[in-house]
């Protein structure tokens, strides 16, 4: 879990929580991806906690998590939830106010 360091400068400190289920493939992928984002964009100002719902199933309800993996942006507000393996990079950045709103996906 990275922490916000004083040397990060004037940037705001992000508090993120990633809810996963053990060794699930998507959970693993999500973990990798969020770690990359923190490293590339939020160096020194990212507090990331990985919560394994297999170990702590009770953590889901209070955070209003309905599926795993779910990335919860706790700070800075607003609180946002992003479900999935975070492979949609543009969307992740947008949710973290680090990028523009991506075009609507056609499904």
């Amino acid at each position: 879990m990275e922490g916000c360091t004083a040397s990060a400068g004037a940037g705001t400190c992000y508090v993120l929580k990633l809810y996963v289920t053990g060794m699930g493939m998507r959970s693993q992928r999500a973990i990798e991806r969020i770690r990359a984002v923190c490293r590339d964009h939020l160096e020194g100002r990212c507090e990331l906690e990985i919560v394994d719902l297999y170990e702590r199933p009770d953590a889901a309800a209070p955070a209003q998590v309905v599926a795993a993996p779910t990335l919860v942006r706790e700070a800075p507000p607003p609180v946002r939830r992003l479900v999935g393996d975070l492979s949609d990079h543009a969307r992740v950045l947008f949710q973290l106010d680090l990028g523009p709103r991506p075009a609507e996906r056609v499904r």
């Binding site: 996963v20 289920t21 053990g22 060794m23 699930g24 493939m25 998507r26 959970s27 693993q28 719902l53 297999y54 199933p57 009770d58 889901a60 309800a61 998590v65 309905v66 599926a67 795993a68 993996p69 779910t70 607003p78 946002r80 939830r81 992003l82 479900v83 999935g84 393996d85 492979s87 499904r107």
Partner: protein, 693 residues
């Protein structure tokens, strides 16, 4: 509906939330999730998310089994199937308890029904040998149903290793047992070896006393613990050895030096003191302090007594030897006494009956035989003197030529008797030696006599002398029976003689050459022999150092034949009547007036009465011996001081000293040589006393 419309922020928030929900639904529907949370805390995992777990289960070394409530197998991995030697499909639905040996089935039941995290060992049925496995059980509850997740670990390898270890352990134990046996055997051997030579093994504390009962000490001395505890051991030491031993022990304690001592220790069994050698070493702690002393006592009594006995017998032998030498000396000396009167009588015969041929023959025979006997006795005496180291040399400056001539003269009769030819070659230059003329002559005489004795009739004898550097070399060569190589090494040995029938007839004691060698050595010279073998003659080479050069013209004390022919009044005192009378007769023939007495008292009285010029006193007389008589005579000296001449068988320097001290002027050894006597008489009357001895 509220009259107030939601503000733009609220609308944005609602929009965001909506979007989020839509996104979430989309993600779930498109299977982008691993699991869904139901009822707040139940996690339902999608099938595909399980795969890593599956792989894990299949890949691991252990067998994995999931069983339902009755112990039926719901799932098992490949490893487990391999262990049982059956395909996994066949195992599904079986009861786990049926897959183990009958004896272990109950254990399986217990494990499955016991609490979480239990384990036990069972034997799985296989087509081959039963497989020993460890079952580790974890309980699982799903919707009220109890299931077990079991990890099955193959113990066969471990068992094999365990077995191998056990076997190796057994082999090791065997080897250790064997080694221990060997060790105890050698220890026994060592012990018996030690006890064979060592009587006692003991140990004391650092203070030097026995701190614990010493069984070995007790066994030897018979002293119980009460007696030998502490320093009580000193009681077992011989009183004469105690102080020294204690002092030495105390010294060793202080210096922490190896202790070695010898003392007599009481031996209880034989009730006696026995000699022992004691030795002890300190045993040190890690910090260098003495922890105890460890020592041994070696019983050397037998060896010591044997040694003492040996020394004693050696001493006795030496004493016997000495006594023998003294006996021989005394014997020779005593045997000489009768010779003196015999010689005198012979001399008288010569003078008195010169015309009658029988008388002449008689006198010559007696003279020769007496001379021979005297020579034998002299040799004997010399031998005893050599062995007693009492031989003395009277050195003076002599000419080699004189000595050689004198020896030849004496040897001539024998040479002529043997019918040998003699050739003499002497150097023209005078060669002076610092030697005892009598002894030198004796050497040459001996060699000449041998040359004649060990020769054939008509054999040749050659005597030659020459200067060789700082030495003079005299060679006596003969053409006689020679010396064999076997005999050569021993010819100069005392009592060695040539084994020869002819030789035996020639007489002799076999001491000649030993004397010759000794005398030569005493003069700083050597004598060597050479021979080409039997019947090839022999050669004896005498080498002597030349006397240092000196300014010439110092004539030796001359005994010139010229002298006044005086007549003296002479008293002869000797308890041997024959000796006294024959001497008196001789002197009478010379024209002197002689009185004879037979003991010291008479001598003193006669001197007073007769007032002689000269008194001849035998030393060994009864009543008053010669020394005492001389002392008395000197004490009573009136005016006419008579010349006192001592006659004695002892010619040693100390005898002469004693004679001089007693008041004698001269000293003659018996048998008295007439010329010497006459020479002494001449000296007696000389105005300046001369050293005629």
């Amino acid at each position: 509906m509220n009259a107030q419309h939601p503000g733009p922020d609220a609308i944005a928030a609602m929009q965001a939330e909506l979007e989020e929900l839509r996104e979430t639904l989309r993600a779930i529907r498109s299977g982008e999730v691993d699991a869904i949370v139901v009822d707040g805390s139940r996690i339902y995992t999608l099938e595909t998310a399980e795969r890593p777990y599956r792989v894990f289960l299949e890949a691991m070394q252990e067998g994995a089994v999931t069983t339902g409530p009755e112990g039926t197998i719901l799932y098992c991995n490949m490893r487990f199937a391999n262990m049982l030697g059956a395909p996994a499909a066949r195992l599904l639905g079986c009861r786990l308890r049926d897959l183990v040996l009958e004896a272990d089935a109950e254990r399986v039941d217990r494990l499955l029904s016991a609490g979480d995290a239990t384990s036990g060992e069972v034997r799985l049925r296989t087509p081959g040998e039963p497989l020993v496995a460890q079952l580790s059980v974890s309980r699982l509850e799903v919707d009220g149903l109890v299931a077990s997740c079991i990890v099955v670990t193959d113990l066969s390898e471990a068992k094999r290793v365990e077995q191998a270890l056990r076997e190796a352990g057994e082999v090791l134990e065997q080897r250790v047992a064997e080694r221990t046996r060997e060790l105890s055997r050698s220890e026994q051997r060592f012990r018996s070896l030690v006890t064979a030579t060592t009587a006692i093994i003991w140990s004391t504390d650092a203070g030097g006393g026995f701190a614990t009962p010493q069984w070995s000490w007790q066994a030897y001395t018979g002293h119980a613990w009460e007696k030998h505890r502490g320093w009580g051991w000193a009681e077992a030491l011989h009183p004469e050895d105690r102080d020294a031993t204690l002092a030495s022990w105390r010294d060793s304690l202080v210096r922490r030096a190896v202790y070695e001592a010898s003392a007599r220790i009481w031996h209880g069994a034989t009730r006696g003191w026995r000699h022992c050698n004691i030795r002890a070493v300190p045993v040190l702690d890690a910090d260098g302090a003495v922890r105890e002393w460890v020592g041994s006592c070696e019983d050397v009594d037998d060896a010591r007594r044997a040694e003492e006995a040996l020394r004693e017998s050696e001493h006795r032998l030496k004493q016997d030897d000495r006594r023998k030498d003294e006996f021989i000396a005394t014997l020779a000396h005593e045997l000489r006494n009768p010779l003196a009167p015999i010689r005198s009588a012979a001399k008288i015969l010569e003078v008195a009956g010169a015309e009658r041929p029988q008388t002449r023959w008689a006198h010559e025979v007696i003279g020769r035989q007496v001379a021979q006997m005297a020579r034998l006795l002299d040799d004997l005496l010399d031998v005893s003197r050599i062995t007693q180291d009492k031989l003395e040399l009277k050195r003076e400056r002599v000419q080699l030529a004189d000595v050689v001539r004198s020896a030849i003269e004496t040897s001539m009769p024998l040479i002529r008797e043997q019918g040998c030819e003699l050739a003499v070659e002497l150097p023209g230059e005078p060669l002076a030696l610092d030697a005892d003329p009598t002894r030198l002559s004796q050497i040459l005489l001996n060699l000449l006599n041998n040359a004649a004795k060990y020769n054939h009739k008509g054999g040749r004898i050659a005597v030659s002398a020459r200067r060789a550097g700082a030495e003079v070399e005299v060679v006596v060569a003969d053409s006689g029976i020679g010396i064999t190589p076997e005999a050569m090494p021993r010819i100069f040995d005392m009592f060695a003689q040539v084994e020869d029938a002819r030789k035996r007839a020639r007489g002799g004691l076999g001491i000649g050459l030993a004397l010759v060698r000794r005398l030569a050595q005493m003069h700083g010279g050597t004598v060597t022999a050479r021979s080409d073998g039997a019947e090839r003659g022999s050669e004896f080479v005498l080498r002597l150092p030349l006397a240092a050069e000196r300014a010439p013209a110092e004539p030796a004390a001359a005994r010139d034949g010229q002298g006044r022919r005086e007549t003296y009044r002479i008293v002869v005192a000797d308890d041997n009547q024959d000796a006294a009378e024959s001497l008196a007769m001789l002197l009478g023939l010379e024209g002197h007036e002689v009185r004879t007495v037979y003991d010291g008292e008479q001598a003193v009285d006669e001197v007073e009465r007769f007032a002689p010029h000269i008194v001849l006193l035998d030393i060994g007389m009864p009543q008053l011996d010669g020394y005492q008589a001389a002392a008395r005579i000197r004490a009573r000296d009136g005016g006419l001081r008579p010349t006192l001449i001592a006659l004695t068988g002892w010619g040693q320097e100390q005898d002469k000293q004693r004679a001089r001290q007693a008041g004698f002027d001269h000293h003659l050894t018996k048998p008295v040589d007439l010329d010497a006597l006459l020479g002494a008489l001449k000296c007696a009357a000389a105005p300046v006393p001369c050293t005629g001895d």
